[in-house]
Amino acid sequence: MERFLNFLFIGLGNGAIYAMLGLGLVVIYRSTGLLNFAQGEMAMFTTFIVWSLSDAGLPLWLALIGGMAAGFVIGAVVHQVIVRPVGDPHQKPLAVVIVTIGMFLGFNALAKLIWGNEQQSLGNLFGRGEIDILGTAVAWQKLGALLILAIEAIIFWVIFQRTKIGLAMRSVASNPESSALCGVPVTRILMIGWGLAAALGAVGGTFTAPTSAVDANLMQLPLIFAFAAITLGGFDSFVGAVVGGLLIGILTDVVPRYVDIFEKMPLAPAFLLILVVLLVRPEGIFGQKKVTRV
C-alpha cells in the first residue's frame, strides 16, 4: 500500500505536468482549432527565460511570472506573424500542422543558439520538503504541482465558460467568419488565446525542469504525453486535459511497476486505454460531440 501510494504520487506529479501542457494545447485548440506541435518547444523557450531570470537573482516565483509575461508576448507575436498569415486551420489543416512543425524546429534551434548546449538546473517552486501522507513521504513540489494545476484549470474554465472574451474565443474557434460578422475582433481574440497558451507553457516547463534539466529538449517527451492526455480527455475540454494528464501519469508510472511486460513500454497501457476510450467515445472522455445537421 505504501509503495503503491508512492508510485501514485509520482504518477500524479508527472501527470500534473502533462496536464498543464495539455491545458495549453486545449486553449489553442479551442481558440484556433489546431493542434500546436510547437507547444512544447514554446514552453521550453519560456522556461529558459524563467531560468535566466532566476539565474540573474530573481526569486523563482517572480522569475516564473516574468517567464509567463514573456510567454504571453511570444505567443501573441507568433500568432500575428506566423500562424495568422497561413490562414484558417479548418480550411488547410495540413499546411497549419507543417507550420507548427516549422516552429518546433525553429524554437529548438533558437534556444540552442541563445543558451547553448549546457544543461542548467532549476529549483523547486515548492522547495525540497516532504510531507507524510498515509505513511508515504510526498514532496511538497508534487502537491504544489497538483494545486497549481487545479488553479489553472479553474481559471481557464471560468475564462472560457463565464466571460465575454471566453465566449468570443469559443465562437471564433467554431466559426471565425460568423464571429467577425457579429463584431468579434477575431485576430485580437486569437492573439490572446495564443498568448495565454504560451504563458501556461512557462508554468508547465518550470515544473518539468526540476525533474530533468533545463535544455533544448526539455519538453519534447512531455509534449507527446500531453498529446496523449488530451486525446484521452478530449481536445476541447479543460477537465479532459486535467483528468487525461493525471491518468497518463498514473498509467505510465504505476501500471508498469506491477506488470512486467510494460517495464520497457510504459506508454503501452496508456495507448491501450486511449484506443478503448476512443472506440467507445471517438471524441475523448470529456470531449464535445460534434453534431452538425446540414
Partner: protein, 460 residues
Amino acid sequence: MTSTRKLRLGAVAAALALLMTACGRDDETADSSSSDNETAETVAPGDTTDTGGDEEAAPAAFITPEDDCDAYDATKGIEGGTIKIGTVRPESGPYSIYDNVTKGLDAYVKAVNADGGVKAGDGTTYQLELVKADDAYDPARTPGEVQRLVEQEGIFAMVGQIGTSNNLAVRQYMNDACVPSIGLATGSTEWGNANEFPWFIGGLPSYATELHAYLEYLKTEMPAAKIALLYQDDDFGKAYQATLKKDIEGTDMELVDEQSFNPLTETSPESKVAQLSGSGADVFIVGIGGAPCPAALRAMPGTWTPATYVSITCSGKTAMSLAVGKDEGLYSVQATLDPGTPADQQNPKIQDFFTRGAAQGLTESDLQGGITAAGWGFGSLFVRALELTPVVDRATIMNTLYSMDGENYGLMLDEAQSTTDGDTDPWVLEDLRVVRRTAGSWEEVKPLISYDGQSNDFAG
C-alpha cells in the same frame, strides 16, 4: 489507349526482368557465402600473423592492407604538411549536448596548430585540419555524413566520432574503405572486436571494464552487497547488466532488482527509482547517462541510502551540479583526470588543458564540465599515435595504435598506462581507480589498478 496499356505492361515487364536478375544475383551471393562458411571451418583462425614489418621501426603489422583491403589509399588526406581529419557528431537533435565533445576536439586541434603542429614519427611536422559533420544522432544519417567526409572531403581518418549505433552504422563501410576511425567516443564492448573490424579503435574505457573496476572494489568492501541496477536501454546499460551478472556469479553479492530506462521514450526515471528503493538493496548502480542520471539521484527517497555508483559519463561537473546535493558519497571510477575536481585542477595536465583550451575559446563551464575534456582526450590519442608512428599512413598509424606500450597521453591519470594489442586487447584505457564524492570533489578510495588486456573478458 490500348497501346498505352501495352506500354505500361512493357514497363512492368522490364522492371520485373530487372528484379529477376537481382534475385538470381542475390541467390548466388548467398550460395557462395554459405560455401565460404564451410571452408571457413577448415581455415585455422589466427593465421594473420604472417610476415612481420619490412622496416625495422615498423610496429607489428596487425593490418596488412594488401591482404585486407580491396582499395587502399595510404596517405589520402595528407597534403602540403596538413593532415585532414573528420568527425561526425549530433550538432542538432536531442543529443546535441554531445556536441561539447567535438568542441573539445576542435579546441585541441586548434591548440596543436597554434603550437606549431605535430612532429610525427617520420620527422615531419604536420598541421591538422578538422572537418565536422552533423548526423543529429540518427544512425540512418551517419553513413551519408561519413561518406561525405571520406569521399568528398578526402579525410585521412575519423577522430572521436560519437554514438555507438552511429559508429556501428559505418563500421563496415570504414573497414571496406580502409579508413581509420580513432578514439571513438563510446565505450561499447563492440570495439573489442578488432579482428573483425580492425579500422576502429575506441577512445573510452570499455563500459564493462568501468563497472568491473567498481564491482571489484565492492567485493572487498561489501562482500554481501544487495545490488539494485538502473540501466539505460542501450548497449551501455546492457553492458553494465551483463558485466554485473557475470561478476557476481559465485560471490555472495546479489542482484535484488533491476529496471531499464529509455531516455528516448520516458520522461523521468522517478518511479523506477522508487521501485528499486523498495528492493532492500544496499548498493545502487546507476547505469544511465545524460540528464536522467542526476534526475535518478534526486529521485532517491531520503530514507534510502545505499552505496550509489554512477558511470564515468555521469561524474562530470555538470551532472553533479544537476544532482543538487545528492552527489555526496557517490562512487565512480576514473581513467582520466577530472577537470571539475579541485584536487585534479592542480595537476599540470589540467593546468595545460585550462590554459590552452581557454586560448581556443573554451568557456569555464566547457573546461570543467567533463564532456569537453573527453574530446580533448580523443584528439590527444590521435596526436600521440602520429608522434609514435614511423610512417604516416593509414595502416601504420592503426598498427601503431595496436602496439602501444605503456603510453600516457592527454588527460590520463598520472600513473595510468596505455598498452594495446590488436588481436586481444584493442583497448587504450584500462587503468582505473575508484573514487568517492566528498565535499564536491572526487577522492580516491581505491588506487589505480591496471586491467590491461582484460577488457574483453569482462564483457558478458
